[in-house]
């Protein structure tokens, strides 16, 4: 039975907020350190962490796609701007929404197939990791 919840949209600002806060403190202490920008790859990683946490907390969920994608756009764009993260602009809203939509759709499809296996709880993390590597390879083509 799928639960109707927006847990991933609650976890997303928490994971992103912690990451941005760590980056902010790091840049304050070491101003010339080169840290990754809030780019597609970073968004993919953050979304996958939130999705994995959501799976362990509530299992399979029923999504309100439009609302959840809008919330993801506000999360990436709004929090990125609030933190003054390098590389963040108006396009972050759009890129964040697209990255979230694609990742969540693909991840949900994979999880639906993992449900039939006996070790589904362990399989979710490697699945997310492989998905992250696949996105990195895909981005490397451009």
């Amino acid at each position: 039975m799928k639960k109707s919840t927006m847990m991933v949209n609650t976890l997303l600002p928490v994971v992103l907020g912690v990451g941005l806060l760590v980056g902010m403190v790091w840049r304050t202490c070491m101003p010339f350190v080169v840290l990754p920008e809030l780019d597609v790859i970073a968004m993919v990683g953050i979304t996958l962490i939130a999705l994995v946490l959501e799976y362990y907390m509530v299992g399979k969920v029923k999504r309100s796609w439009v609302l959840q994608i809008l919330l993801a756009a506000v999360t990436f764009g709004g929090l990125g701007m609030a933190a003054g993260a390098p590389g963040v602009g108006m396009n972050t809203f759009l890129v964040g929404a697209i990255a979230f939509a694609i990742l969540t759709f693909v991840f949900d499809s994979m999880v639906a197939r993992l449900e039939v296996t006996t070790d589904k709880k362990c399989a979710v993390i490697p699945t997310a990791f492989v998905l992250y590597l696949a996105c990195q390879c895909f981005m490397g083509m451009f």
Binding site: N9, G17, M24, D39, A82, G84, G140
Partner: protein, 179 residues
């Protein structure tokens, strides 16, 4: 539905408030630390100098130059060139005679394991020492393995910094993107 959406919105608002607060609290310290760190780096890039003053420059005529700091025996110049995945920003120490005394990468977003190695690959960066705007990949500089475009961008930025001091035209076709 109404109840479901309240928690995510609340989480976004709380995270934004925490980040804005953190930025406000840390901004003073961050600015101070930037100055201290910049001065330390510039002293290393231009040995023998202790005080650096920002110098005005013609940004239109020197599009690759981001900022210039003048010292007694030379300049420290922040120059930039487009790499494989975005701008590569360097800090280059150049003596009054127009020779490179130090190079460090300030910012880049190149591919990890390839172009991003320019950040930490000391033998690669050391090749630019004592060059005088004549650095060229394949001639007197060996490119990073698998990162020719990034290497050319670094070379272009170093030559641009020297060119600013000597006034020479360093926009050689051999250091253009992919050229």
């Amino acid at each position: 539905m109404k109840n479901k959406i309240v928690t995510p919105i609340l989480a976004i608002v709380i995270a934004a408030v925490v980040l804005l607060g953190g930025k406000a609290i840390l901004s003073g310290t961050a600015e101070k630390n930037v100055e201290i760190a910049r001065n330390k780096i510039m002293c290393a890039l231009l040995p023998g100098s202790t005080s650096f003053a920002p110098e005005e420059f013609d940004a239109e005529a020197n599009s690759a130059i981001q900022s210039v700091y003048k010292a007694e025996n030379g300049y420290v110049i922040e120059s930039t060139a487009y790499g494989y995945n975005g701008d590569i920003v360097l800090m280059v120490g150049v003596s009054n005679e127009g020779t490179v005394t130090g190079v460090t990468v300030k910012d880049l977003q190149e591919t990890r394991g390839l172009g991003a190695d320019a950040l930490t690959n000391v033998p690669f960066l050391a090749q630019f020492l004592w060059t005088g705007g004549d650095a060229e990949i394949g001639t007197n500089v060996d490119a990073l393995a698998g990162a020719t475009v990034s290497s050319k961008a670094v070379t272009k930025a170093v030559n641009a910094a020297v060119g600013y001091v000597t006034g020479a035209d360093t926009s050689s076709a051999a250091t253009e993107w992919g050229g």
